[in-house]
Subunit: 361 residues, 4 copies
């Protein structure tokens, strides 16, 4: 931690600053420059982070030198983590391909969509049973009936299922049905919820909040990790920006940035990032090319009657075409779609012809 | 609701659109322009809002003509609401002046700060017992002990108290101690929490999320109102922007904008909006001049040892000076600080010398 | 300047860093912490700023300790500057009240509007003769004919005039007619233009760019000052944000922030900041209350036929009402509208009853 | 154009609106809904765009149905344009690979860098002779000497050169040396400059402004096109956002969005978009995968002594590695790096193994 003192900091203020550092049991290192005095503090930065150093009279600026997260940091865990979701791997060259409708809806439709996306190569099926809707008058999801149906889909097609949990009181219930728990963008900083999913044994898909920095996102992962649940997959799903042309702004650079700072896998969600089916394929490809560990896409076979987010869904045939392109790109990058549990493992892509993704990023 | 069709929409697509509108039991109004065909839909827009109209083939754009909130709308309730917090009024010329430390801390300090801010004219005392901290390793608040202490402060100085609730499971507990429940910026779209505070009888202070539009904010108020709790006070506390010079970007125009769209009171929080004590007084004055129904300011008597947010706290003497300036400004605007329950009512400001705040906005 | 080295910086890298600093003729101060090594550099930071220090192998972060502007800095010029525009003062308690239509239009309308805003207390008349329009097909301004007409208005009502210059080739021409040159938001970083107006003798109104930080704004002022023109007035006119409800986001905190960092006057422009007549009065009052040195407002007597920006213009009678409120607020703050050259000076406001604006900010 | 009238619009106001539309020689189409009255206007929207319709009393909202650009629109020109820069094609499957240092510097270094990037496959060499620096005290470029040197590099390696022009007075001079003129992000809305480059015969590289929407960008292209210069290549180079981790926010979705709305080629500039060498390769790959028509990357062989932007430069060997990966990806997408004029044409990539890029987007 470095303290930059104010231009006009008095000797008394400087003494007071040094005394405060000593009281914390830490060492200081004073450096008087031409225009400013600097105090380097040597010792445990985590301890310091909790102190309101900027409120000490005479202090102009506090410059941390370490990231505020530990368990999520690549420093602490240099190897990339691979998260196993009921047999489907995400990370380390294994691509998690999440597909399915926004909401769990009627059973026939669910089975129909699942059958198709599985055939295209999806390895995690999604559907919301509890929907965080911006309007209290909008469809709020089927609740536990939706969870049951989702489980049935998972069982029938032997595909793990992921669904959103929006309330700490529901974590246990949802964990009973789903293979992976999603924490949505609006709840990224719902710390009570993060703590509960951290106590759960289920892997967690943590979506980036609309105005979260990468540090904010990693701190929320840290909440989950610090409760003992190390199976966290991050998801870039678009952030707020000024151009109304797209629903959100797809921050593709978040992928290599997260991979540099953290060992946790990160996937991309071009459906929410753009809100437009016509932009989803290009952004899905961009995400993979940037090194993402998977892609989350909403698929519906009749978007104009979907219970939620119909206008951003791909049709199953559009998803199938895109999946084919993504497979080719994955092979070029030396990666592959993870296989479903029990599936025969496809021969690995030819390492000669592939770009080593580690090198790219 | 207006549908703008695509350039190349076919007659079949247009027929399909019209049929879909009829199936919803609504009337349509077709208008073929030089370059585009437009379909006006006549009937209940709330019903339409739930339909994925943009997903109908041939539809390019959906233009709503009504706001998506109803109970929060000024259309539905032309007169400005006045929210009563255990005898302290907010709205309609009555200014709610919230002051106190970020976190509830040790008793002596709490009483000391409360005594001072009450003397300066504050009429609601604040302090967090459950803190939504970005780090899992940071001080998380005193919990129920903090609530008890806050209640004691309120009783001793006869001042209502407001505190944040972060978890739907805690709403009942917190309601037992606090006069007003705060929903923080990070939880603005925690719909489970909004639903619970909506069922509570306590007035609610709803803070705007860091990337919430005004429509988003009013929709969250609608969640609370739709559960039967009509006592909602909104709070502008700064939004995310690109200049790191301040913690957030204080959106002072939100004040007249909300007052035009909604009957609910809105106050400003320059402490969180700027994160800098040196900018708080100017922004507090700006908020009042823009027509705010109150001001929320964090005050601590030794910021350098505060348990949270010390660097943005005003000292009690700084708050006192600012409160004096705010009183003069309030008088000019024809408003006044609400009085504490049981206090003698100060003589109203002279209407001759005041600017009618309705006219200003 | 402080260099924070990378976690894994080698001794060779550290040696190389120190050698580079020495080659620049500067001193270094090494501090090895528990996790990171820090190099303080002692000497002229301006010289260092030009060096690509972050590109030196092993350097993780470069932390400057001084602002990059010098002439614009309050450090260099502690007293607030007062800019004199042909006899009208802006800064130091003197409020510059700029009013007039967006574009210079037909003479009768110009005289009519000018007469009214002068009667309301405006002390600078504005109107664009060269318009930076987002569409090449839109009205581009009357050109030199507009300048002549603007000059005539200024002469008839004895009020200085301000108009935008958009092209370095036109600075001399425009300077021949106008009392003050405006550099618009879109040209804030048009450095060729800044250099030319810096060589001019006319005072400059420099508007903040839509995505300019305060540092960016002050660096652009520095361009002008560095050419020898010290008469720069800054203008906050709204920045880009994510809520489409207003044209821009009015950053009222920019006022006290600029006043803390710089000696230059800063005014606010609620017309462009909001783009909505219904929000302009509240934001004008907010700007003054925050300590602004003046207010810029577009006024038109028939907005529905205005050549540009009609939808955001106030009517003369709306401006008059607002001007009355602003005068009352100015008196409360111990400030006053500057008087036109040759006008009798109104008695100064009573210092006893006024809030000292220095204290507020 | 659609006018949505205010809730309380009177019959007189409605009549006035209709009369105004008739006065413009256009037809209207009135539709009275349950809550709002709508006026559709039939006729030339370009004419209407210039009218301040929102300023007509009773009008709440104006909804355009057509984009404001014409020559840049894909509606007007359905086939993708291919821009030819002295023999190097950009667009339609031909990738423009721009590489070179930020600033033109000493001759030996220039020749050295050029030789290397040409060997890696770059087909346009860049270097700034006039630098738009945020500080007036920073290196401003070598001026005409830099242009001469750049021309010499181009001649020696038979590679077209692109350089920035920042001042309308310099367009003719720069056109005498460079094969392509760059308009930088800070000058995107410098309309005087756009008009001058529009009169030039040189192809133009137009970079997106930091807070420009896609519509803003296309309107600036329209300025150039409307002067008769149809050879415009757009460039996404990052926009402003709230996370300080990267210099800008790389908006990769701009690529498919622009390609849908316009026929003009669009390339990406990950150097400025991220400002970090460690993120450039991933973002370059992402841009290509999203369908970009080329990639702009800054390369320097000793970043720590670069005259500008050293910290974001790739080393020649890093560029070479990335170029290899980009070539593989291009082949997969059915595209190829354009060849230098006079070069033997490499055999086209195998269409069997390639993804059709039209389908992807």
């Amino acid at each position: 931690m470095i303290l930059i003192l104010k231009n006009l900091a008095t000797d008394d203020q400087i003494d007071h600053v040094l005394r405060r550092v000593e009281e914390m049991g830490l060492q200081h290192h004073l450096s008087r420059g031409t225009h400013r005095t600097i105090v380097g503090i040597i010792g445990d930065e985590d301890q310091l982070r909790e102190e309101p150093l900027r409120a000490i009279p005479g202090v102009a600026q506090v410059v941390p030198v370490l990231p505020p997260y530990k368990l999520a940091s690549r420093d602490a865990h240099p190897e990339s983590s691979i998260v196993d979701v009921s047999g489907v791997k995400i990370g380390g060259g294994h691509l998690g391909m999440i597909a399915g409708p926004c909401s769990v809806e009627d059973p026939d439709r669910m089975f129909r969509i699942a059958e198709k996306v599985v055939a295209s190569g999806a390895n995690l099926f999604r559907g919301g049973a509890y929907k965080p809707r911006t309007s209290p008058y909008a469809f709020q999801g089927m609740g536990e009936d939706g969870l049951k149906l989702l489980r049935e889909v998972g069982n029938r097609y032997n595909i793990p299922v992921v669904t959103e949990v929006t309330d700490p009181r529901l974590v246990e219930l949802v964990s009973g049905y789903a293979d992976m728990l999603q924490v949505g963008a609006r709840n990224m900083q719902n710390f009570a919820l993060l703590t509960e999913v951290g106590k759960s044994k289920r892997p967690v898909l943590l979506k980036r909040g609309m105005s979260a920095t990468i540090t904010d996102l990693l701190m929320c992962a840290e909440y989950i990790l610090s409760q003992g649940n190390m199976n966290v997959v991050l998801c870039e799903r678009g952030i707020k920006s000024f151009d109304p042309a797209t629903r959100n702004l797809f921050d593709v650079a978040a992928v290599p940035l997260v991979q540099q700072l953290s060992h946790l896998p990160i996937i991309v969600d071009p459906s929410h990032a753009t809100g437009r089916p016509d932009l989803i394929p290009a952004c899905a490809m961009a995400g993979l090319a940037a090194g993402a560990d998977g892609v989350h896409i909403e698929v519906h076979d009749c978007p104009e009657v979907a219970k939620s987010d119909g206008p951003q869904a791909l049709l199953p045939e559009q998803y199938d075409q895109l999946a084919g392109q993504m497979k080719s790109l994955a092979a070029l990058l030396g990666k592959q779609f993870s296989t479903l549990p029990g599936s025969p493992n496809p021969s690995a892509s030819d390492p000669q012809s592939s770009i080593n993704s580690e090198t790219v990023v």
